[in-house]
Amino acid sequence: MADSVLSAHGLGKTFQVGKRHVVALADIDLSLRRGECLAVVGESGSGKSTLANLILGVHTPTTGEIHLDNAALPAERQLTHRKRIQLVQQNPLSALNPKRSVRASLRLALDIHGIGTPQSRHDRVNSLLSDVGLDPALADRRPAALSGGQRQRVAIARALAPQADVIVLDEPTSALDVLVQARVLALLNTLRAQHTLSYLFITHDLAVVRNVADRVAVFENGRLVELQTTSDLFSCPKADCTQRLLAAVPVVSPSELALRDALSKRNDHDEP
């Protein structure tokens, strides 16, 4: 596909646990389009995190390949590859070094990837912070002196620092309060448009998916069981697993309740 920035071809991963072989991921063909937000959903153990780890190069695939701009990524990633694919984790408190100030954490990312001149990096840190809606005055604080939302903004700024084009978001808002979650999601949306980023958005919250993702990939037991555009998935979910996830979404308004009921009723009729 011409517009795909990252793609998986026959991707699989088997872990050896003692004498057993555990298939964590099998036969995944998937492509992330440039500028797209692709949601990856599934229950625990469905292979979401394994997929993220393979894409990030934390694990090497057992089978298949990952292509970046239509060129296969080697098993040993080079700095130039790592620079382009960045990660935002669920819990920023454990993702950020507690002994480093915000400035030092962002500076380190710039130094490692050689972004700008050493002199310009000071200014670059400030502009990264304002990109994520943080006051540059916070730059000398350590993570412990920030709120949960501020910490997650720092983690996002660090992912932006190397001028990545693919960001793996691993449950980026599930540790946040709802008010903070709404603001961080809005920020992620703005940044995606501003910097032409592509997101691989891993989550189990389908309500978040509905409002941020262009397409949704549903995983179950290490397999890709459904891939649809978001609006199709929410009008006509196909896989059992998707229907189960949809039925479990907490809803607050009567119109949501009606939609959720309609989706599950429709599926009751479909079943033989």
Binding site: S174, L179, Q181, A182, N189, D205, L206, R210, P250, L259
Partner: protein, 293 residues
Amino acid sequence: MSAPTLAIDNLDLSFKGLLSRTQVLHGVTLTVEPGERVALVGESGSGKSVLARLVLGLLQDQRGVEVSGRIDFAGTELDQLSRTARRALRGRDMSMIFQDPTSSLNPMFTIGNQFHEVLQRRKPNLGSDQAHDTARSWLDRVAIPDTDRVLASYPFQLSGGMNQRVMIAMALANNPSLLLADEPGTALDVTVQAQTLELMRKLAEDVGTAVLFISHNLGVVREFADRVYVIHRGHIVESGQTADVFGNPGHPYTRALLAAIPRITGEGIPDLPEQIDLSHPPVHHNTGSADHG
């Protein structure tokens, strides 16, 4: 009608530091009737978790903690009880599910061992075979497969979600009259979370266990609770029957919390006001059951 399972009246809590004093709870008044499911909803730092710790009596004896007001459990004022009597209540008549299961379970003992200990709080002479059978049936009820293996495992050998379900099973196993649940679903999958809440709801009905459900997410609460209290910075800002609070939220803070939840109908990411009018007086919907003579 019998006394409420939990009645909190005008509770203040402050932490005294070296130079400063921080007030965390401001005159919190709240009741939970027998078998009722009540949710306490607020953001991090609102004081909802310390409230649960006060009910358990885990905070009062700590240095720098100042408490005033009154907490009654099934008609008995908790401050009047001896330490031993309070201790006997915990794990038997009132139990708690904490947010983080891995730090609540003892890493040195197997799940089966810890389960046995919990069951012995109700029946001190319970043998290990009986305990094993009881534990197995409870693990079944929280959808844990392969129960024998789990009972022989240490907490670190299980996933976080699995540990959380073990905690829930342990908390319910003694049929307590009050269950304090502090964000029990946070570490769980949505599907398992839904099952867990369903289980808690069923238990509350079966044995008349009252539940005080503490959460930051109004969405999770809607299908679970009979009544809702919304807490912000130690003040109850809104309370009422779940349908009233959701159908007609009166306080700007409650409205913001509701607006912030992404909808599956796809209205986009909500545009929240930067400032929420917090000077608004608290809104108490006429609740009926909560008004006690």
